[in-house]
Every structure is written in structure tokens, then in C-alpha cells.
């Protein structure tokens, strides 16, 4: 590392907020922007989200799509200095707590809750429990693979799940499924990002520019081109109606200025502190972490939450700013 390079690899996984990357790769938008900067960008689809982050953390990819929380707990905690280049959206109802046959969130007390441990679902559960003055010890958490969540719900043993779309939609088709809490009640806390390796980005700013360029071109297509939307819907294994339903609970930032407003807002700092605290409680900031601030997070205004000597996650608005200013 530390040198200029020409060939970049980007990993993305199947999730409503990241489906544009698949379309961008297939439709030639990626190539268009890569050519413009004289580089090549390989866009690789992952079905397994965690594996895509692991691969990025291990250095096999230069950029990856992930949530703010996973960015902190996996690459940043793994010592990989990571910069959020694009803030694409936040979950606004995509993630939900679902109870079988019970209408109130408080009924979750004492139940076994199936979810992907240490994922945003776990965080959502923590936030949900907080809202009804419960703690995680009031429930029993069983780690359950996201791929099998839908079928797991069909078994009598499972009475409470926390998961995300499209699994949420599938589960809600069951007549006994009740959504008792969702991410729209904690807006802006589960943020979907495109992050890149900070060193790579510093040495190759054109890579960041290309990413942003690709993204907002694709956003335009998604907003206006029915074929593009159909493509994304298909690729995520559903139809346009299903995809629209998911988009409805996703706060997409179609314009750079919307994303800028969000990333420059004060809310982001509170969220970061909350997430860091959650991760610290779960010992996910590394074994040596002494406090929730063990890993420093830098914001666009260069202010830092936590350890300034150990900044590993950075929200960088300059690329989105360039897009907003038409300077790509």
C-alpha cells in the first residue's frame, strides 16, 4: 500500500440500499467513471454480507458496502483505517422486531429472540428494549442465520425475531406476525455506507471520486428509469412491487446534498456514541478496548469521538461535496 494504483476492487452485498451497485456494474456506469479517471474498478457481488466485510478487512478489497455499526466493529476494530465515502441511506423501517401473536413490544420480556448476534438487529433490539425499560438480560438471544430466519419463524419454537428486509416482509406475510418495533423509530441510527480503505483513498483520490460519480449516476437512474429499478428488483430476487416496498422503508439520499446534510448533522455524533457504547458492552471493539471511545471516529468537521490517537473510522464528506458541486 501507500502507492498509486490503477486497479480497484469493490465488494457489495445484496441489500435494498446497495442494489444500485449491481445495476451500475451491469449497465456500464462503473466502466464509464472508471474510464474517466483512467482506472479499473471491479465490482463483486457477495451473497454473504459478513464475508464481504471480512474480505475487505483482510485487504482483498479496497471498498465495501456496510453499515456504520459493522464498519466500527469489523474493519475499524481490526485496525483497518476506513473512510466512509458515500452515505447512501439509512434504515427507516427496514429493520424490525417481530413477535408471533403478541402486539406489544413489552411482551418480549422473557422470550427467546432469534436474530443475527452482533448485527444491526442486535443493536435494534437493544434500542427497542431500552424504549420499554427492559435490558438484554430480560430476553434470551439465539444466534440465527439471516438466510434461515424466514423458515425459522415458521417453526413453533420461534416466537420473536429481529431481522431486516426482505426477510421482514416475508415473515410479515404470516397472519400471526406482528411488527412491534422498527428502525423508523430510531431514524438515522442504522446507516448504510460505502467505505474505502483510508490509505488507498488518500493515495488515489480519483478512486473516491469515481465511486461517488458512479453512485449518483445510478441514483438518478433508480429515481427515473423503470428498467433500472426492475433490474435491481430482479437481482434482489423480488419484483418491482416488492422492491418499492423495501425502498419505502429506506431513506435513500438520491441527491448528494441530502447526504451532506445528514453527515454534517449533529445527530451522527450521538448515534456514533450510542453504537460505540453498544459495541463496547458486547466486547466488540477489541479485547484491549478500555472504553467505548477506544476507537476514534472522525466526522467531516474533523472533530473526533473517542481516542484521537486511534482514529480508524472517518466520515469524509469531500467526495460527496464534490459531487454536489459538480466538480467530479
Amino acid at each position: 500500500q501507500g502507492a498509486e494504483k490503477k486497479d480497484f476492487k469493490v465488494a457489495w452485498s445484496i441489500y435494498v440500499g446497495w442494489m444500485p451497485w449491481g445495476y451500475a456494474a451491469d449497465s456500464g456506469i462503473v466502466k464509464k467513471w472508471a474510464d474517466k479517471y483512467g482506472i479499473t474498478i471491479e465490482v463483486k457481488q457477495f451473497n454473504d454480507y459478513v464475508e464481504s466485510i471480512n474480505q475487505y478487512t483482510a485487504g482483498a478489497f479496497d471498498a465495501v458496502t456496510l453499515t456504520n455499526m459493522d464498519g466500527l466493529s469489523i474493519p475499524a476494530a481490526g485496525g483497518v483505517d476506513t473512510t466512509a465515502v458515500i452515505v447512501g441511506d439509512f434504515s427507516n423501517g427496514n429493520d424490525a422486531v417481530i413477535l408471533k401473536g403478541k402486539d406489544k413490544l413489552a411482551d418480549i420480556k422473557g422470550q427467546t429472540v432469534n436474530l443475527v448476534e452482533f448485527s444491526v438487529s442486535h443493536y435494534l433490539l437493544a434500542r427497542a428494549l431500552e424504549s420499554v425499560k427492559l435490558a438484554e438480560k430480560d430476553v434470551k438471544v439465539v444466534n440465527t442465520s439471516d438466510a434461515d430466519m424466514a423458515s425459522a419463524y415458521k417453526t413453533p419454537d420461534v416466537t420473536a425475531v429481529v431481522t431486516w428486509k426482505p426477510i421482514v416482509s416475508t415473515i410479515l406475510e404470516s397472519p400471526d406476525a406482528r411488527k412491534v418495533f422498527d428502525s423508523s423509530q430510531i431514524p438515522g441510527e442504522i446507516i448504510d455506507l460505502m467505505v474505502a480503505n483510508t490509505t488507498v483513498l488518500k493515495d488515489n483520490p480519483s478512486f473516491g471520486k469515481a465511486l461517488v460519480g458512479i453512485w449518483y449516476d445510478t441514483m438518478k437512474a433508480l429515481a427515473s428509469d423503470a428498467a433500472a429499478k426492475e433490474h435491481m428488483a430482479k437481482a434482489s430476487g423480488t419484483d418491482v412491487a416488492g422492491f418499492d416496498e423495501m425502498l419505502g422503508t429506506t431513506k435513500m439520499f438520491y441527491e448528494p446534498k441530502d447526504a451532506l446534510a445528514f453527515v454534517n448533522g449533529a445527530e451522527l455524533k450521538t448515534t456514533t456514541e450510542r453504537v460505540s457504547t453498544f459495541l463496547f458492552d458486547k466486547a466488540l471493539l477489541g479485547k484491549d478496548a478500555k472504553s467505548a471511545g477506544a476507537i476514534g471516529v472522525e466526522f467531516p468537521d474533523k472533530s473526533v469521538f473517542g481516542d484521537k490517537a486511534n482514529v480508524k473510522l472517518r466520515y469524509d464528506a469531500t467526495f460527496m461535496q464534490a459531487a454536489a458541486d459538480g466538480k467530479l
Partner: protein, 272 residues
């Protein structure tokens, strides 16, 4: 007459063989019917009609996005990975199996490490594999190869050791060198036995293929199953599973035929 002396004739054989299949289908129909009666939108045990629809959709209607027939392009992509991987495993197993089985030096050197390595659960080491091998088709092939090749090697080595020592002595008295023995005595006798071993590895190979496609892929039978699993689209999954089973069965049958045709001496020598 003792039960073990009763041999059903052709018609009876056929009827008896069909029985369990009929029972399975019947059980499915009843289960599916019950669930659908309760909730007509139930996705878990779809009706045969629903599966037929899904099959038609996947196999007989071109995908508007790519113009491909999805099921066929999935099949093509999976099969090419699978067959490449099996070919590689087979080759490696043949070489190392003969080395380990025939040469005491190679046996003591590689025997233990192969025995230990074949116990490692490859799925747990996926991250390392993917880093080392990248994520392309190469990694998927490698996973299948790693998952199947060690057992194949052990199998081959055992079968090489099963060759009566008389034959190896005889070859030496005919002036054969180690290399000539490997090439003209051991190798040709191993080929049909290799087919038996490979047949046993078809199942694991599919397993690893599906696991690999579940992690990173954009086509393939395992990928499709994984993709639609989030929607609990059993109407797609079940036909795909049946199709995979059929493919595996046909591969097995093909290998059996190959064995019979290519090694006419083997059937006689095996029973002797």
C-alpha cells in the same frame, strides 16, 4: 420359504421400488394440502401447480434482464465449476494416492498430514481460503477441491495398498522399474476404482459448491437457492433441489456406465 430366499420378479420389483417414492409424494401432498387449507398463501410446502409455475418461469421463460433461461444458465455455471473441480481433485488424488500407496517413503511423509488434514472442517476456514484464492470461480473450485480431494487421496492410497503384493513382485521380476510399475500396473488398476471413489464424492462436492455459491456468486444453482431463500420461495427451491438431485444421480449413473464401458476387465476382477 425363508424371507431371504424370496426374490421378487420384475413386475414386483418395479412396484416395490415405486412404493417409497409414492409414499413420499403422498406425504408431501397431504402436508402441503393441510397447510394450504389453513393459509392459502403458505410458502413452505407449495402445491405442485405452484412449483410447476415456478419451474416454467425459471426454466422456460427467458429472463428479461439477460435474455437467459435462468435455470439453464444457473445449471451451466454450477456444473462447469463442479466438473472442473472434480477433474482437478481426481487428478490430484490419483497422483498422490498412488505415491502414498505405492512408495513407503511417500506414505510416511504424506500419509499422516493427509490423515490429519482430511479431518479439518473446510467450511470453518472459508475466510482464509477466500483471501488466499480470491473470490472468483477459482476460489469456489478450490473449496470443492479441498473438500473432496483429501478423502479421495486416502481412498486411493488404501486401494493401491490393496493390490496383491504378488502383482508388484511379479512386475519386478519382469524387470519393471518403480515408474513403470506405477504407470502400467498400478495406474490402470486404479482408474476404475477411482471412479467408485469419485462417485462417493459427488454429494460432498455439491455441498461445497452450494456453500461456496452462497457466499459470493451471481449465478449458479446454489446461488439461486440462497437468493430466494430469504423470501421462503420454496416453489423455486424444491424444483431446484429435485433438479440438483437428478443431476447428481445422472453423474453417478454416467460414472457407473463409464466404468463398465471403459474398464471391461474390472467387473470380472472385482468379483474374483
Amino acid at each position: 420359504m425363508r424371507l431371504l430366499n424370496i426374490k421378487p420378479d420384475r413386475t414386483w420389483s418395479f412396484a416395490l421400488a415405486a412404493l417409497p417414492f409414492a409414499a413420499l409424494i403422498g406425504a408431501y401432498l397431504i402436508g402441503s394440502g393441510m397447510r394450504l387449507a389453513e393459509n392459502p398463501n403458505d410458502k413452505l410446502l407449495p402445491s405442485f401447480n405452484a412449483m410447476l409455475d415456478a419451474f416454467r418461469h425459471m426454466a422456460l421463460t427467458p429472463d428479461p434482464r439477460s435474455g437467459n433461461y435462468l435455470m439453464w444458465s444457473d445449471t451451466l455455471s454450477s456444473l462447469s465449476l463442479l466438473l472442473t473441480a472434480l477433474a482437478i481433485s481426481t487428478f490430484i488424488a490419483l497422483v498422490f494416492g498412488i505415491l502414498i500407496g505405492l512408495l513407503p517413503i511417500a506414505g510416511t511423509t504424506f500419509g499422516p498430514v493427509v490423515a490429519v488434514a482430511s479431518m479439518v472442517p473446510p467450511l470453518a476456514l472459508l475466510p482464509i481460503l477466500f483471501i488466499v484464492l480470491g473470490l472468483g470461480d477459482g476460489a469456489k473450485i478450490a473449496l470443492i477441491v479441498i473438500g473432496t480431494t483429501l478423502k479421495l487421496i486416502r481412498d486411493m492410497a488404501l486401494r493401491v495398498k490393496d493390490i496383491p503384493s504378488e502383482l508388484l513382485i511379479k512386475a519386478q521380476t519382469l524387470g519393471a522399474s518403480t515408474w513403470q510399475i506405477a504407470l502400467r500396473v498400478v495406474l490402470p488398476q486404479m482408474l476404475p476404482r477411482l471412479i467408485d471413489s469419485v462417485r462417493l464424492e459427488i454429494g460432498p462436492a455439491w455441498l461445497f459448491l452450494i456453500a461456496a455459491e452462497a457466499i459470493a456468486a451471481d449465478s449458479g444453482l446454489g446461488y439461486r437457492i440462497f437468493l430466494v431463500r430469504r423470501y421462503l420461495a420454496m416453489d423455486v427451491i424444491i424444483p431446484y433441489v429435485i433438479w440438483i438431485t437428478l443431476l447428481a444421480f445422472l453423474m453417478d449413473l454416467g460414472l457407473r456406465l463409464l466404468q463398465r464401458k471403459a474398464f471391461p476387465w474390472f467387473a470380472g476382477a472385482r468379483t474374483a
